[in-house]
Structures are given as structure tokens and as C-alpha cells.
């Protein structure tokens, strides 16, 4: 039994990353290195207004004085920030009138990834913004959404066409001084998605962005901003992949969510950047700052993430519960295999009255990987009746991996009820025995148990994504998921 399990686990370790292909495409790439000049070039390529350039330069100045954080439970080799290309965009004609004008190579790439850029082949109504390297390729269903007053476009377009909203909200949740990677992102971010849902509108379809790193030696720095105005609702999905390369690539994104009165934002991520090969060579360094603010009363933000990729993940989707009666959720499944490292979790800042937050984190470690949950629940002095429940479970597959939990709980109000629970274990022999007895093979049993373990989180994903996420879990732990 022990051996059989080991065998299955070693099969898991051997599985291949199926999105690892590379697209030969002509691209507009600038030289390696980071300087004020580079920041200016990026801004000018994007035809940005003056205020954006100023903001970028301020961020760059600030970044020069910052040091890379080293508090996470991660081993990251020295990153040479001058050895990275900060802008690379697939070359295509400036303005696209229809789908036919997209470079067929590009279209083929996204078809291969299963991303429908073609509105005819729409998959149960998901609007997609596809981003390759530094530029947004195509945003689908834009017109249909515009009828409702919803703005869904690339960030560069938003900067040009909706400067008021950008001025008001960009950097309002994650300021340019926030942290090393967020500041770097502010200086050099290239593209991303922008969403604005007007008052009282319930977005009729799932909005989604698909990020793809293609070019070599580039870093991807995208920036997403979602604003849900009073009484609106939006569900947003994010997916990502990258080709297989021996060299590590940097990805430092920033996501900001703003939920106004009675608004609700649901943000789901399936992160599947290239995790490196089974010897730990290559892979994406994924340093992401995600933060949402329930700015006014009764707002709600929900983060759901399925993290299976990246060589190193440093990511803490957080919520600021500023309005009264606001609530926030964080659901996470983080799978690490081979030599992957993940340090992920959340922050819940309770500021308003009667705020509620819920954290469910499920870590699965296999191979030689290290998987950490790190979270902070803070209840401020005036946050009366705050309520938090956190549950952080870790599952270990094999005895060469590690699972860690580092929660921080800070309570300054006597009415708060804050609970944290964490367990670490492996799949029990008795559980497998129970399944075996009923004619279920060990392999299928492990699959069942892992699936059941992650179900609480997967159930939070929108239908279309839940299927993909379940498949992803199967690929990441191939041979063990039935």
C-alpha cells in the first residue's frame, strides 16, 4: 500500500505541462533593462496622457529606494531587474474592425489554449479580454456590454478613453508606494483589463481575462481595475499560462477591486503559469498584489483562487472592509508539486461595523514543494461586531514536501469574534482502505479524496471555470485524481 501510494505520487511528479508551447510571432520588443527611459518608452508606446507618465515616474523613483521583501517562506534566487525586457507586444495592425483581422497565429494560440476570441464560438457567454505579453489582443462582446453601460476594455484603452475613472480609482486601493512588486508594476505595467459596472447593473455574463506570456526574457506586468458602482454585480475570471522555458520569468501584477454601496464583486482566478520542469528548472515567478475594498455599506467581495502553476507564488488577495455591514470571502486551493514554492493567503481588514469575513484555504503539497498559508485578520478598534472564521487545511502527498501555516490575528475590539483553525495531515490509510474495500482502486480513492478536499473551494467557481479547475487539478496531480 505504502509503495503503491509512492508510485502514484511519483506518477504525479512526472506529469507534463500541456500549455508549454511557444508561438512564433513577430513582436515589438524593447531592449532589456529598467530605467526612467524605459518607463517613458512604455508610456509613449501606449499613447498615454501626461498624468499617467508622471504617476509611473513617481513610482519608479520610489521603487529605486525599495528592497525586495524576504519575509516569505520562499527561496528565491537573486533577480536581476536589469536583465528583463519590460515591454514586448505582438505586432498587429493598430485598429481591429473584426475578428478576421487578428493575426491568425495569435488566434491559433488562443484557440489552442481553449480561449474563444471568436464571438461566434462563444462558450456559454463569457466575454474575454486576451492579453499576450504586454498588450491586450482582443476584447470580445464589448459592444453588447456597452449597451448596458458596462465598460470592459484593455487598461491602455481605458487610460486613453476614461481618464476620469482612471484618475479617481487607479492606485486608490494599491497605492504606488504599497510594496516592492506593486511599485515596480506601477512604473512599468503594460496592459490589463478595466471594468466599470454602472449603478444598479447586474453584469449579464462572466467577464474574463486570459493572460499569456509568450516572448522570452520578458516580464509581464499587468494591471486590472474593477469598479462596481452602487448596487451592481460582476463576476470576473482570470486565467494564465506561459510557454516552457529553462529561464525563470517574472510576473508582477496588480489587481484592484472597488465595490461601492450594495455592490458585489466576485473574482476568480485559475493560475496556471508554467511551474518549471520536474527538476525545478525554469518557471514563472508570480509576485502578485491583489486587493479589494468594500468602500461603502453592504458591499461584498469574494476572491476564489486555484493556484496550480508558477515556480514561486507570492500572492495575498486581500479585502478592506471599510463600509458597514460589508462582507468578504477568500477561497483558495493551492497545489504545489516538484520544486514549486507557494506562499499565499489573504488579509482581512475589518474597519466598518458588522463586518464579516470568511477564509477557506486548502493547500496540497507533493514532490519537493513547499506550500505556505500566510494571512492576517485585523479588527480595528471601532469595528464593532466583526466576525471572522478562517480554516486552513494542508494535505501532504509524499514525505519530501512541506506545508506551513502562518496566520496573524490582531483584535482591538471586544465584540469581535475571530476564529482560526488549521490542520495538517496526509490522506489517511483508513480512508483509502475504506474505498478499497468498496472496490475503488487506490488511485481513484486518492482522486476522490483530493477532490472532496478541494470541493468547498471549487464549488465557489463559476460553472465554466469549475470544470476547467477540476481538469487542472487532475493534470497537476495526474494519476491520483479520478
Amino acid at each position: 500500500m505504502e509503495n503503491e501510494q509512492d508510485k502514484i505520487i511519483s506518477e504525479v511528479t512526472d506529469n507534463e505541462y500541456k500549455y508549454g508551447f511557444f508561438t512564433e510571432i513577430e513582436s515589438d520588443t524593447i531592449a532589456k533593462g529598467l530605467s526612467e527611459e524605459v518607463v517613458k518608452i512604455i508610456s509613449s508606446r501606449k499613447n498615454e496622457p501626461e498624468f499617467m507618465l508622471e504617476w509611473r515616474l513617481k513610482a519608479f523613483e520610489y521603487w529605486k529606494k525599495m528592497k525586495m521583501p524576504n519575509w516569505a517562506h520562499l527561496t528565491i534566487p537573486e533577480i536581476d531587474y536589469q536583465d528583463i525586457i519590460y515591454y514586448s507586444a505582438p505586432k498587429q495592425n493598430a485598429e481591429l474592425a473584426s475578428i478576421d483581422e487578428i493575426d491568425p497565429e495569435l488566434k491559433a494560440t488562443f484557440d489552442r489554449l481553449g480561449i474563444p476570441l471568436d464571438e461566434q464560438k462563444k462558450l456559454s457567454g463569457v466575454a474575454v479580454d486576451a492579453v499576450m505579453d504586454s498588450a491586450s489582443i482582443k476584447t470580445t462582446f464589448k459592444e453588447n456590454l456597452a449597451d448596458l453601460g458596462i465598460i470592459f476594455c484593455s487598461m491602455s484603452e481605458a487610460v486613453r478613453e476614461h481618464p476620469d475613472l482612471i484618475k479617481k480609482y487607479l492606485g486608490s486601493v494599491v497605492p504606488y508606494t504599497d510594496n516592492f512588486f506593486a511599485t515596480l508594476n506601477c512604473a512599468v505595467f503594460s496592459d490589463g483589463s478595466f471594468v466599470y459596472i454602472p449603478k444598479g447593473v447586474r453584469c449579464p455574463m462572466e467577464l474574463s481575462t486570459y493572460f499569456r506570456i509568450n516572448a522570452e526574457n520578458t516580464g509581464q506586468f499587468e494591471r486590472t481595475l474593477i469598479i462596481a458602482d452602487e448596487g451592481s454585480y460582476v463576476s470576473y475570471l482570470e486565467g494564465c499560462t506561459a510557454p516552457k522555458r529553462d529561464k525563470n520569468q517574472l510576473h508582477a501584477a496588480v489587481v484592484e477591486l472597488v465595490a461601492l454601496k450594495n455592490a458585489e464583486i466576485k473574482y476568480s482566478t485559475v493560475q496556471n503559469w508554467y511551474p518549471g520542469d520536474k527538476n525545478g528548472k525554469g518557471g514563472i515567478y508570480n509576485f502578485v498584489t491583489k486587493r479589494g475594498i468594500c468602500k461603502e455599506d453592504n458591499a461584498k467581495i469574494s476572491w476564489t483562487q486555484v493556484e496550480t502553476g508558477s515556480a514561486v507564488t507570492w500572492k495575498y488577495p486581500s479585502c478592506i472592509l471599510k463600509g458597514d455591514n460589508t462582507s468578504a470571502e477568500f477561497y483558495s486551493v493551492a497545489v504545489t508539486n516538484n520544486y514549486q514554492q507557494a506562499d499565499t493567503g489573504t488579509k482581512m481588514m475589518h474597519i466598518g461595523k458588522n463586518t464579516k469575513s470568511r477564509i477557506v484555504s486548502k493547500g496540497i503539497s507533493a514532490g519537493q514543494s513547499q506550500n505556505s498559508y500566510r494571512g492576517l485578520v485585523k479588527v480595528l478598534k471601532n469595528a464593532e461586531n466583526a466576525r471572522n472564521f478562517s480554516q486552513c487545511d494542508s494535505l501532504l502527498l509524499g514525505n519530501n514536501c512541506g506545508a506551513h501555516t502562518f496566520p496573524y490575528i490582531e483584535v482591538d475590539n471586544k465584540e469581535a469574534i475571530v476564529e482560526h483553525e488549521a490542520t495538517t495531515s496526509r490522506i489517511g490509510e483508513d480512508q483509502i482502505f475504506y474505498c478499497n474495500q468498496r472496490g475503488i482502486s487506490t488511485e481513484d480513492a486518492i482522486g476522490l479524496i483530493v477532490n472532496g478536499y478541494a470541493r468547498e473551494v471549487l464549488n465557489q467557481l463559476p460553472m465554466e471555470f469549475a470544470v476547467e479547475a477540476q481538469k487542472l487539478l487532475q493534470i497537476s496531480l495526474e494519476g491520483s485524481v479520478g
Partner: protein
Amino acid sequence: MSEVIKKSLVNDELVDAFRKNNAVIFEQTPDFINKLRSKYFNEFEALGLPTKKNEAYKYTDIESAFFGAYKRQYSPQPLTIDIREVFTCDVPELENHLMLVNGWFYDKENKLKLLPNGAIIGSLIEATKQFPELVEKHYGKYITEQNDSLSMLNMSFAQDGLFVYVPKGVIIEKPIQLINLIVATEELMIQPHNLIIAEEDSSVSVVICDHSLNPHAFLLNSTTEVMAGKNSKLEICRQQNAHDHSVQLTNTFILQKESSFVNSVYITLHGGTVRNNLYVKLSEPHAHNKSYGLWLADKNQHIDNNTFIHHAAPNCESNQLYKGILDNASTGVFSGRILVDRLAQKTIAFQSNKNLLMTNDAKTRSKPQLEIYADDVKCSHGSATGQLDEDAMFYLRQRGISKKEACHLLMLAFADDVINKISIAPLRDEITGLVEKRLRGELSRCNRCKVNCG
């Protein structure tokens, strides 16, 4: 004067004091201790006191705690009063207590007791004179793995302390009580070092009580090293009962051998700034550790309990329960880390922290941590912060119990979960009484004690 300068002055003052007085300091202790002293002093000089940037001291400002014109005694000073006259301890089974006065073994006593069964109990300095080899074998051997500057500082200055040696197979029925008494007429910094060795198959209980005889500020930075040999059974209880101007820092290092069992209970009744570091290493299979803590804080008191349980061998078990009640503008901190090595399969480790907040000015900080590198383990931690249970309160009120009394009963019940983990019955009763008084807001002084602790 800016904070930074002030802080670096604290470090400089400690370093200067050591250099200036090293002849006197070195004179009291033998070479093997002085050798370690120099080594740890160099390390301390390089590292300095922990700052708030140090992750382990994130919530406690140790440097500020060192502000103050603390005097140090580098050799035993004569006392003007007869301690036995003014101080009595009324726990029935503990009448034969040992005393450390201002960090020095009380000189009117027989400094080192040699029991017929071979056990040695008494002054550490005296033990280094009579049993140099025995002390050398153990002194400073259990703190090496932690890079903690408070224990380095203690190792630099430490001179006297409690020495307990229980030979193979010896069972000491009666608990050994050490009273750490501070009676100075000026502000004192004292840094005693205790060494407790329990050899194979032995059993012993040690009770340490920290007391002060007058309201002068003091800083106690004490280190206790404990070695629990194969199949040994040990209990360590520490009762911290001083006043608002006290700074009490304790570092306890416990090394557990095969199948040993250690029960440690820390009760913080009263203190200004308290920081308890507990480091347990389960170095051989089947070792079992239980650690408990309770803190009651009001006013501006700051109480920080920090534990680190290291499972370095398979089949070990550890269990922790830490509870705090916080009133007024006090702060309670709990940080607990469980580390399970790759080899430590079949580990069972549990940890729980519960805090009661009585006001909106009180604060709790909780940081339970699991760091696990072995797969066949059962580990969990939990942390909960809240107020008294409304249903329980309603039940009591229904039965005609006043709100104040009901509140008191529930707090006592909350505290009792930790108190009842003390296996020495008379001490348990005494502490229950003290906690009850403390919760009522009275001075928690023992009945027969003539000392004015507050």
C-alpha cells in the same frame, strides 16, 4: 533625543557595563562558564536587543522595556532584613522553599542540599564549586540552537541561579520551590540562570515563583535550561506575580530525550511587561510535551507568550493551550510555532490559543504557526478571540446571579482550563485562589504573606 539614539544607547550601556565590570563578573564563576560568557557576549554585541522588526518580537517592544536606570549587582550584596521573617509562602506542601534574592542564592541557608538519594538542589555557583564536571556537562548546552539575543544577554551576565540534579532512577516526591525575590531599594536588573537536569527514569517537579517585596521597578531576564532524560517525568510551574513597573523576561529551553514527559505551566498573574519564551526540543522518539499558559492583564500591561515546539524525532506528541483575559488597555500576545522535521513521522501536535477581550482598548495579537516537513502527522492549531458566551451568561442571570458575579464565574471557568493542568494539588488550589482575587481586582497576595507586592 531621537528614539534611534536612545535605543542604541540601551545596547551600548549593556555592552559598557559588561566591559567595565567583567573582572567582578568573571570572578564569581569558573572558567567554563566564563568562556561561554565571552562567546555569548560577542554574539550579543553583534546582534543587540531584538527590535520590532525582528519577526519574533513584532508585537513587543523589548528595547523600550530596557529603558530605565537599572542597577546591577555583580556580587552578592548584604541584606538589611531577614527575608524569612517577612516572607512566608503558605502553600502547604511547599514550606521548604529555596530563595534567590535579587538573583543571588540567599546566603543564610545551606547553599547546596545533597539529598540521601543523590539528588543535588541549590545554588548554581555553589554547584560549580562542588561538582564542576557535572555542571560543565550541562551548562549552556540546551540553548545553542536559538539565535535569541535575550538569552545571549542572560548568558553574558548570568551568575547565580537554581541548580537541580536528579540522578538516574530517583523520584523526588515533594515539589522543589524556588522563590525569585526582589527586595532592592533601587531599580534592579537581574539575570539568573537556572539549570534543571533530570536523568533517566527520574521524576521531579519544580515550582518557580517570581515575587517582589516593594514597588520598585525591576527587570528580570531569566534563563532556565531543562534536560529531561530518557523516561523521566518533569513538571515546571512558574507563577509570575509582580507589579506594573516590572519587566519580566523568561527564556525556558527544554530538551526532551526518549519517552520523557514534561508538563509546563506558566501563570502570569501580574506584570508590567512580560515576555515568556518557551523552546522545546523533542529530540528522541516518544517524547511527550504539554505546555500551558494563562495571563491576566489590566491597565497598560503587556503580556507576550512565545512558544516554539520542535519535533525532531518520530512518534512524539505535543499539546499546548494558552489563554488570556485582557481588561482595560492591556495587550496580550501569543505566538506559537510548531516545527516538524522531515524525520519526525507520526507526530501528533496540537496548539490552541483563546483570548477574552473585556474592553475595546484591550488588544490581542495571535500568531499560531505550523511548519511541517513530514507527511504522516496529525497537527492542528486553533485560535479564537471573543467575549464571554452570551448563552452561558443568560443561563446564570436567569438563576438570579448578578451580572458582575456571572461575569466573574465565567472568567474563572475560562482560566480554570489552564490552572487545572497543574498536577501539584496544593499549588493548584493556591493559584485558583490568587486568580479569583486577581479577577475581582484585589491584590492577589497569598494569605499569610506580609509582603506588600503591589
